[in-house]
Symmetry: C2
Subunit: 377 residues, 2 copies
């Protein structure tokens, strides 16, 4: 259209991965904010706190006996789940690398009975079975991924790949996710993520399965592989890239500084990554997360997670339409204390964003790749 | 299944209106909460504050000249939009009922140019046009809907119906929504809602259009009419009911105390409600919102909004599959300061809830229908 400028004129953009639209109203960022301010994160987390149930040597606070304890010390590789060492201890080992243990209040358990049939199509229930695990990234509570070394991040990637392979041997979906920061519902400052494996394909998996399958059928190429190639050429939404990976603020981003981490080659699952791709993944994650922290000079809150081809029975199927990727959904908008609220119009009608994806990418791109806490003053 | 109990055994439930599932893990509410606590709302809101831009007689704070001022004084009825009284004033009138004015930082404006064609199917943009209005419910800043009289709430309902009719004369979707409480991104304590009319059907509207149309085609009856009849019989998820309306915690609720407000008869749009239905709506809204406030003895935060049949060009179409309804999405879970976070697993996989819809309905049902602030001590 004549005179159209994305940064000035509201418009909608289509998200082909979720088959929905986002309203981009970039002029809105000019309005003053008089609403709720967030508490900045606590900067005084002790490195080791025997009362914190995620710390090495700590007693688990909830009083339940953990049913299994698994120590991941890179580079020692894991034996498959059935051969794990089960331990009735309530005390964590003095782990030195990553540390995986069962969530003591799991939303998914392996043995729930089938729900009864309601006898009416508007009241449909289905069985849900699974396991929930917690993975500590590092023994030190005062670290986060962007402050860890490349080797330490690489150990996290290996642990992710192994858990995905092990749980994915039987479960159709293994969701690895990290809630970072109290603002994102994270209830413990110790660096950790969660892994929930389920007997069903969750909504987001079903959605991405459908859209990627359809794109592949229509265009003969995996959607996100084609998308990564396009973004590598267009460049305006690139945040960081290396030989194997790129990170973009997707064309259809809803959260202000949302990013999508994509491999350049066609990869189905985390466990398919080769040695050098895991190293370059550690590197690009670190670069992205340092930029995130530098944006508002605060430990940047987000929820992130991995989506790869389904597992379990799907391991036997052709999943060529899938492309491995990670989503980062960070809530902050203007500063360390002003977030975007996805409420009202967003919940009832459609997501709306206050700056263009290109503006967000440009800001992230311009930030230094040395963490503000480690910069010489 | 043998021995299945919804309050003890995790399971999934299907939401036929959004074609997605929710994971119900009711045993999870037993876990201790060590995460973020919310600030309880400010209880000292002055009745009139000349610095609050939503107050009668106040000067609008943002420095922009409002383009139109419209005073709704019940029972005076409105003239259609083109004949509104336009006023270049920056000072609000001394309104005594509801008061509608244009949002000075609108996400949707009537005149944005068409975006350019990107030339690639993965980069799709579309034009977005519309208007955004703000509606004050009452001249007093220290009131909320549950503390207003039935007549005052009835005036709000009439104003909603008139705005929907007026803006819906040309726009295909008119989204009325209220963000209540700072926790829900509301930046002004004065009781108000917003109305965003758009040239497009937003995601949620498209979704409900598709699922309701399909149900109607398959079963020959509007989905939500059939659903309301079922819930009226089953009773276990009922919160309040009267001759024209019922409120349930839907079978597929995701937010802990989410509710769905449904008419008993087949109604397409707010403006189709007759006089007595508007009175009974004021009554049931008041009863629901008093229960909400009584639950944790706090002004209960939520986002709510109305969904009715599409308007504009759709007024000419058969919309018999639609049923008018309101969604209430409140975030609180355990107390006035502990909310449910829809993060991590929820954003990347599937919504998960920590108590059953039946438990939530039972708690709400048991609460008194006199507001805790108005109860004799
Ligand atoms: O328009 P307000 O009240 O300033 O803003 C609030 O409601 C809008 C519509 O739901 C959201 O987009 C904003 O994130 C929220 O803070
Ligand atoms: O398991 P946590 O960290 O205690 O809890 C957090 O993550 C879960 C999974 O995303 C969410 O369901 C909870 O609402 C959130 O507070």
């Amino acid at each position: 259209g004549a005179g159209f400028r994305a940064s000035e004129h509201q418009h909608c953009r289509y998200n082909p991965l979720r088959d929905e639209w986002v309203l981009v109203s970039a002029h809105r960022v000019k309005r003053p904010w008089q609403g709720q301010l967030e508490k900045p994160p606590n900067e005084d987390v002790p490195r080791w706190d025997p009362k914190n149930p995620l710390c090495p040597g700590a007693t688990r606070a909830n009083g339940e006996v953990p049913r299994c304890t698994l120590i991941l010390l890179p580079p020692v590789s894991l034996s498959p789940i059935p051969r794990l060492h089960f331990s009735p201890l309530q005390v964590n080992p003095h782990y030195e690398g990553t540390f995986v243990f069962p969530n003591d209040f799991p939303a998914l358990q392996p043995d729930a009975p089938e729900p009864d049939d309601s006898g009416h199509p508007l009241f449909r229930a289905a069985a849900a079975r699974g396991v929930c695990k917690v993975m500590c990234f590092h023994p030190h509570s005062d670290l986060t991924l962007p402050l860890m070394s490349l080797l330490e991040i690489r150990a996290v990637i290996d642990a992710w790949a192994e858990l995905e392979a092990e749980l994915g041997a039987s479960y159709p979906w293994v969701q690895i996710f990290e809630n970072k920061g109290a603002m994102m519902g994270c209830s413990n400052p110790h660096p950790h993520c969660q892994v929930w494996a389920s007997s069903f394909l969750p909504n987001e998996a079903r959605l991405e399965e459908r859209t990627q399958r359809q794109h592949h059928r229509q265009h003969g190429v995996p959607m996100l592989l084609e998308y990564a190639e396009q973004e590598a050429q267009r460049k305006e939404r690139l945040v960081v890239e290396n030989e194997d990976w790129l990170v973009v603020v997707p064309y259809w981003a809803t959260w202000p500084f949302q990013t999508l981490l994509l491999p350049r080659r066609h990869v189905l699952r985390l466990q398919d990554l080769c040695d050098s791709e895991r190293d370059s993944l550690a590197s690009i994650m670190r670069r992205l997360l340092i930029k995130y922290d530098n944006l508002f000079q605060v430990s940047f809150p987000y929820s992130m997670g991995w989506h790869g081809a389904p597992t379990g029975p799907h391991l036997q199927e052709d999943c060529g339409h899938w492309q491995l990727h990670a989503h980062y959904y960070p809530p902050l908008l203007r500063s360390a204390t002003v977030r975007k609220f996805m409420v009202g119009y967003e919940m009832l009608a459609q997501a709306q964003r206050d700056l263009t994806p290109e503006q967000a990418a440009e800001r992230l791109r311009a930030l230094p790749e040395v963490h503000y806490k480690l910069r010489p003053q």
